[in-house]
Amino acid sequence: MFKNIAYFWMTLAVLLLDIFILNQLSIAMWLRPMLFPLIVVLLPMEWRTIWVLITSLVVGLIMDMSLGGAGLYTATLLPMAIMRRTILFVTTGRSVEAGDQSSLLSRMSLRQLMIYVGGMLFVHHTLFFILEALSFGALLQLIATIIFSTLLSLLIAWPIVRLFTSKIVTK
């Protein structure tokens, strides 16, 4: 059974970290890390898509209400719920089978886990920054923002991912 408590604490930590720390940072225009997609990324793989979609909606709404996103956070997080299994398959070659997927994340190799998390963050950040800018006028800056922000997000997210997946195994 999936470790709900570990998941709850991870969700809370990520939301607080994002809203109160990462969002307040102004390192550079092209460096804006975001961790909240992790909540969807690390959801149990055996969950039905509808529940992942509902979770994405709730997380998106919390982010929008907290940071005044006016739907931007929700609009960019919802596609992650739909694309999650596809991205998992594309990045790691693993497909989700019915029945025994309760700890798929913890059974992945570190390399596979990093590619999957990085891929999900990259797709999310691409959607987010394109929708935020709504213009390809400054294309180089947009690309730089997506790449560097994804890398920094992954760097900050990695310890959380490791801690979380180890909790799943040990509990």
């Binding site: 006016a70 739907g71 919802l78 929708l131």
Partner: protein
């Protein structure tokens, strides 16, 4: 029936996703005029081609009517040209010659691709874009020289116009008879009426008085409408008036986009002045 239920079961997640995503995008688009105009112009770039093809059929059948309007306009312009030639005959009129050599205002014809009039924030999409030299802040008028709105966003082939029928629309106005200025805006109450506010107590408005645009984006003489009703505010410091819109905003088709070639220079000057 059983197959239908099975089909719905198969696609219901996708349907819910599209529905919720649509609401999220709509909320985001409505959050500011920028996002609204940008998203509208992006979606229009795709939908515009389809919509354009459909409207082309409509344009074909309205050609006789359009021809009559154009012929009338050509006649009117010829008349104006003739009167200017008469004035300048034998006399060197530098100002007129200068205007002819280097016109400050450039006109481009455009056709309506799609438009709304039943919302509080209406928009019009025209079939001219950045590729045709269209840019933000250009004025849009009817061939009869009546104000329609201003360009707020452009894609390569299309532009989005914020018409007068938009609660965020605002422009300067001028009473033709006495030059008193006012602010023109739309309350959203009627698609045939605008509001003129901050009219001086000395402006002596009256019913039927014409109101023109007073903006650096458009030349003088662009008509907004005529005063329908007016009242002095409770502090007796200014008039507000209801203006009957001159242009028929619900049946726009061929329009003119007006470029003030000195607009950038004027804006720079205004900004410099504001920074002092």
């Amino acid at each position: 029936m059983h197959r239908l239920i099975e089909f719905i079961k198969r696609i219901y997640v996708l349907v819910i996703f599209i529905f919720v995503e649509g609401i999220a995008l709509w909320t985001y688009a409505s959050s500011s005029p920028y996002t609204e105009a940008r998203l509208l112009s992006r979606t229009t770039a795709v939908g515009g081609a389809i919509s354009g093809a459909i409207t082309d059929v409509g344009h074909f059948f309205s050609l006789p009517e359009q021809n009559r309007t154009l012929v009338a306009r050509v006649a009117e312009l010829n008349e104006l040209l003739q009167s200017r030639e008469d004035v300048t005959e034998g006399v060197v009129a530098d100002s007129l010659l200068h205007v002819n050599d280097d016109p400050q205002f450039r006109y481009r014809a455009a056709r309506v691709v799609s438009m709304t009039t039943n919302r509080r924030r209406n928009y019009i999409v025209l079939d001219r874009g950045a590729e045709d030299g269209i840019a933000k802040d250009m004025g849009v008028i009817t061939p009869q020289n009546e104000l329609v709105g201003y360009v707020v966003s452009c894609s390569e082939h299309y532009c989005v116009v914020q018409p007068m029928l938009n609660t965020e629309f605002s422009t300067g106005g001028r009473l033709v008879d006495n030059n008193h200025v006012c602010v023109i805006r739309w309350s959203g109450a009627s698609k045939y009426e605008m509001e003129a506010v901050e009219l001086s107590v000395y402006s002596e408005p009256r019913k039927g008085m014409e109101v023109e645009v007073r903006s650096e984006r458009l030349p003088a003489g662009v008509l907004i409408g005529t005063i329908e009703d007016f009242e002095l505010n409770s502090a007796k410091s200014a008039y507000s008036a209801t203006i009957s819109i001159a242009a028929d905003m619900s049946s726009l088709d061929n329009l003119l986009i007006v470029e003030n070639r000195h607009y950038g220079e004027l804006q720079m000057l205004i900004e410099q002045n504001e920074q002092r």
